[in-house]
Symmetry: C2
Subunit: 143 residues, 2 copies
């Protein structure tokens, strides 16, 4: 790679990631979802994978424990998740969706997909595959 050109990747990547999150958050707010994008990601994963330790959830989402602790605090305040004591390890909590949380996931999933799709206008499956390959490679290179 040409050194002087590649340097821009980090700037473009950061800029675009911020724009994507910002756009989604604006839509979430405008449509009255009443949660943040990061809170949504936690809800969605809990719905998909079921109850799990904060630990495991953090790993799944590539967030650290303090960050996740605070997101879950807010979700619990909103009655969308609960912390249950772990039966085999009193250091841990099992985090799971409340009924209200599960309902929210069902209601919002198609709306969130529609919001996400907006970014892909004019792009193809092939673009996606190439894009994913580069993102995964970068991630692995720095892991």
């Amino acid at each position: 790679m040409n050194e002087s050109r590649y340097s821009s990747y980090s700037f473009l990547l950061d800029r675009t990631a911020r724009r994507v999150k910002q756009y989604a958050q604006q839509q979430f707010t405008a449509q009255g979802f009443n949660i943040t994008v990061d809170q949504w990601i936690v809800l969605k994963h809990l719905d998909e994978y079921g109850e799990m330790k904060q630990n495991a959830l953090a790993e799944l989402l590539f967030k650290d424990n303090p960050t996740l602790t605070r997101i879950i605090d807010l979700l619990c305040d909103k009655k969308l998740t609960v912390r249950n004591v772990h039966p085999e390890d009193r250091r841990s909590f099992n985090v799971s969706l409340t009924k209200e949380g599960a309902k929210k996931v069902q209601q919002l999933t198609p709306k969130v997909q529609a919001i996400r799709l907006k970014a892909w206008e004019g792009l193809t499956e092939r673009d996606f595959n190439q894009f994913k390959k580069v993102l995964d490679t970068i991630y692995e290179n720095l892991a």
Copy 2:
């Protein structure tokens, strides 16, 4: 695009952007640069484009005014930038590098490039062009 697959792009994008920034910051800290990645980006752009209003700088960096105000506060605390009153508009400041700031940019530029290059191991110029195309398209779709 397949709706159920594309949804993952935002997750991958966010995850990778965070990893890239995190890796760079760890290197900055380990190598004693004594600035953050975002502070670096401001210094680098000021070096490239010369003194400008905060306003213009914010637009160039795709950051909002409050965010930039605080970054520049920190850079001024570190004596790397200065705010000068704008000769034609007393609402504005012209922000510019101090001598020390300019020296820092010269010293760190090759080191930062080396850090950034790490992420691109195994990737080609063609990967870069495709990657850039997708990032730019996403950004434009949401602009």
